[in-house]
Symmetry: C2
Subunit: 218 residues, 2 copies
DNA sequence: ATTAAAAATTAGGTATACCAAAATTAGTAA
DNA sequence: TTACTAATTTTGGTATACCTAATTTTTAAT
């Protein structure tokens, strides 16, 4: 199996299971990888043989310790590069995902660590995702989705779960960037859309958007 | 054909024809690409169909204008990255070739140009190779191989044609780095080894080494 | 001009990464 | 429990990028 193929599978399985270590289904994996389920079935059988995943036929797969180590490495490289592109090379947070998808496959620990060191070993990337350290350890947090926040309380935007350029541009247009403090004013009863108060103004956003924004109570 | 495969063929054909536009043989190409000649024959047929090369069966191939444009682009990325790795990220000139082999395939003009701009749009890379600009234009020079230099004259080291770590470390050990001024003292009659005078010392080097060092008369 | 060596091509084959269509299995809703 | 739907796997197939061994073409030396 090509190294890049392996890395893409493992990274994606990692991103889909995130917190828990639940089984990831082939359909979801195929969608993220832009492959057909039949292809993914085949790929998982090989990754299982290579001991990167435990593949439970018809139920899904999860990373082994070995697979998780590799996945965390790729995630580290991706997030370090995103941070470097934004902070050192002047890219916007909506531009860096695609580039980092390529750069993450450049395997050279000295390079990754040098970039991290220049950045002061950052703990979060420009989308608020935690950056694993060399050993795979990363910041724990009690962030929640904006869609799960409660009215009257104060929050701070900590990240996003959709890295697409369209979504990020939408947020930027409304000054909803990382670090922004906001209050949840009301939740519309009929469609659950959310009225936010921040920067001395009000904005109504859809549940769909609110599901992709990560906040912390302050 | 995979983009990376195309890029590796074109870059290598470019590097092997360099100055002239002579035909590049399949054996030489196969050796550089670490492939078998049979594989290269197949690859060239496809590149010919794609209009990147003119492939003259049994005689060799040369780049078309289209192929040369792509090749120059990759060469530009490679050399910009090498320069960036050395000048901005603290790598040694003997370490950067392998890393740049991977980075050169990251296709994003804004990135390449940003790096170039940070570096002040350099015209030579850390091995003395000229860096093409966005349009593919690059510095002309009248450099010669140290093995072709004449006695009594003064020269300055401008580059190397072997980027291997072992060779570069050998040069560095003897303070034969880019910019070093030297005089060709004598050429031994029997094996043509060369006695150099520089930095208040003398050093004898083999023809083999002298063929890989590029100098300019000063 | 002949011939031996070197280079290139052809023929035939493998492994990988993908796919569509058919068959199976799992999950769900009545 | 049944029957439908969605997810998954199997089957059979394609294209790419490689290889080895055999053959042909080119080049160089006499």
């Amino acid at each position: 199996m090509r190294q890049e193929t392996i890395e893409n599978y493992l990274k994606t399985i990692y991103n889909l299971s995130s917190d828990n270590s639940a089984l990831v289904g082939n359909k979801a994996l195929a969608d993220k990888l832009k492959l057909k389920p039949a292809t993914v079935t085949e790929g998982l059988r090989k990754l299982h043989d290579l001991k990167y995943v435990v593949y439970e036929k018809s139920y899904g797969s999860r990373l082994t310790a070995l697979g998780a180590r590799l996945a965390l490495n790729i995630v580290r490289r991706h997030r370090i590069w995103e941070t470097y592109l934004v902070r050192e090379l002047g890219f916007g947070w909506d531009e860096v995902h695609e580039i980092a998808e390529e750069l993450e496959h450049v395997k050279n620990d000295k390079l990754t660590n040098k970039l991290a060191s220049i950045l002061g070993n950052p703990v979060y990337d420009p989308h608020g995702d935690p950056i694993p350290d060399e050993k795979g350890k990363m910041q724990k947090s009690n962030f929640i989705k904006l869609s799960e926040a409660r009215t009257k309380l104060n929050y701070k935007i900590m990240g996003v779960t959709d890295h697409s350029s369209t979504f990020l541009k939408y947020l930027e247009k409304h000054q909803l960037t990382i670090g922004t403090h906001l209050k949840l004013k009301t939740i519309e009863a009929f469609d659950h859309s959310i009225v936010l108060q921040y920067n001395k103004k009000e904005l109504t956003i859809s549940v769909k958007a609110a599901e992709l924004v990560i906040v912390e109570e302050v």
